[in-house]
């Protein structure tokens, strides 16, 4: 046995540099993280095998909550003010300029009330939109008075022919009549193409779509699930 053990040299490394790198990376990720907008409407969407990502610009979104109540909202870059003004004129809501301004701002993320209550909606603030608030929803079930038709008509007019992404985000447990009424409102406004927001789901193996995707991938094309 060697009697002389090698003298242990000190292996202390200066960790400062590594610490700097770690914090730089951390700052990068903190700044690039986009948090999901906390939603006042809790909607669990069904899953589907579609693989196209949903649009996020110029979006007109109709949400159906588990109780079948219908809500109308638009993305931030949409002409919200014009929509409110159009509805104000067509339905004689008597909104003042201040109320219109508040309704078009981010204080009011969605409309979930009948036309008769829109005026009182204008005085609400962001805090009134916490989750769990019981909104009456836009009345759609009565075929003679489908208020969503007016909202969609206002949106179509406000967009003035520009490309508008109509989206429907429904909860799993929402019953079919609400969805049917939403489709009717779209049809009345001649909006035949719309998208339904769903969660991603893997294509089941052995099915036609699976085989189609496999052959597309082999040919170098993108998966064709629409």
């Amino acid at each position: 046995m060697p009697r002389v053990k090698l003298p242990r040299k000190s292996t202390s490394i200066d960790m400062t540099a590594m610490c700097d790198v770690a914090f730089l990376l951390l700052s990068f990720f903190i700044l690039t993280t986009k948090f999901k907008p906390s939603e006042a409407l809790a909607v669990v969407t069904p899953s589907s095998v579609s693989s196209k990502a949903a649009e996020s610009k110029d979006v007109v979104l109709v949400t159906i909550d588990p109780n079948g109540k219908v809500f109308f909202s638009v993305s931030d870059d949409a002409p919200k003010k014009e929509i409110i003004e159009a509805v104000n004129t067509s339905r004689n809501l008597g909104l003042t300029a201040g109320e219109i301004a508040n309704l078009s701002s981010t204080n009011i993320p969605f409309i979930g009330v009948p036309f008769s209550q829109v005026k009182s909606l204008a005085s609400k603030t962001k805090d009134d939109f916490k989750s769990g608030v019981n909104w009456p929803g836009i009345p759609v079930l009565d075929t003679l008075n489908n208020e969503l038709t007016d909202w969609v008509a206002a949106a179509v007019a406000a967009f003035q022919g520009q490309k508008m992404a109509l989206q429907v985000k429904g909860d799993n447990n929402a019953k079919y009549p609400s969805f049917q009424a939403v489709i009717r409102a779209f049809k009345k406004n001649d909006q035949m193409k719309f998208q339904m927001i769903t969660n991603a789901e893997g294509v089941p193996e052995g099915t036609e779509l699976y085989k189609k995707n496999m052959s597309n991938m082999a040919a170098g094309k993108a998966p064709s699930a629409e």
């Binding site: 000190s10 202390s12 960790m15 610490c19 993280t33 069904p46 990502a53 339904m196 779509l209 629409e226």
Partner: protein, 179 residues
């Protein structure tokens, strides 16, 4: 490793009023801080990818009320799927017979087989699936059926309103099954 040297570096002398004469060397071990840093980075890496909107979209085909679109489906090639409450699916091929003899029921898992058998046995030009939902069906049922259309590569399908006759049949079947 960096160490905390408190072994009284430098001669200490007890001067007047000086309690601590020891010079503490302030070498702090930075390893735990780096660990924390990396933990936080990993956290943010994972949450950044997860917050990407995983929303997908389903495009419904154009619904036209024009008669020329409606009459193109041959009876023999038509499969009608009726969505009822409690995740039940009823179906019949062709036209509903007056005595309801071809009215069958199935579940969502088996409906894929039903669609496939019908698809294989008919001419692709004639094959059309008609989807009707009664008021008890949920949104999830509707989206799942539309999904099945995409999964099974059904080129022609339509979402239409249910007939009263069919709705009656569903109610009767549900009632008699004791659900």
């Amino acid at each position: 490793m960096a160490e905390m040297d408190t072994s009284g570096g430098g001669g200490h002398k007890k001067g007047p009023g000086v309690k601590k004469g020891k010079k503490l060397s302030t070498r702090v071990d930075l390893t735990p801080m780096v660990d924390l840093g990396f933990l936080l980075i990993t956290f943010f890496i994972f949450t950044t990818t997860m917050s990407q909107p995983t929303a997908m979209k389903l495009n419904l085909p154009k619904d036209t009320d024009k008669p020329e679109e409606q009459n193109k489906a041959k009876e023999s090639g038509a499969l009608t799927l009726l969505l009822g409450g409690k995740d039940m699916v009823y179906y019949y091929e062709g036209i509903l017979k007056p005595d309801g003899s071809n009215f069958k029921s199935t579940t969502f898992k088996d409906v894929r087989d039903v669609i496939l058998t019908k698809k294989r046995s008919t001419n692709p030009n004639d094959f059309v699936v008609v989807i009707k939902a009664n008021p008890d069906a949920t949104y999830k049922n509707t989206v799942d059926i539309l999904d099945e259309m995409t999964i099974n590569d059904v080129k022609r399908y339509a979402l239409v309103d249910i007939f009263d006759v069919e709705n009656q049949l569903i109610k009767v079947t549900e009632g008699s099954a004791g659900k």
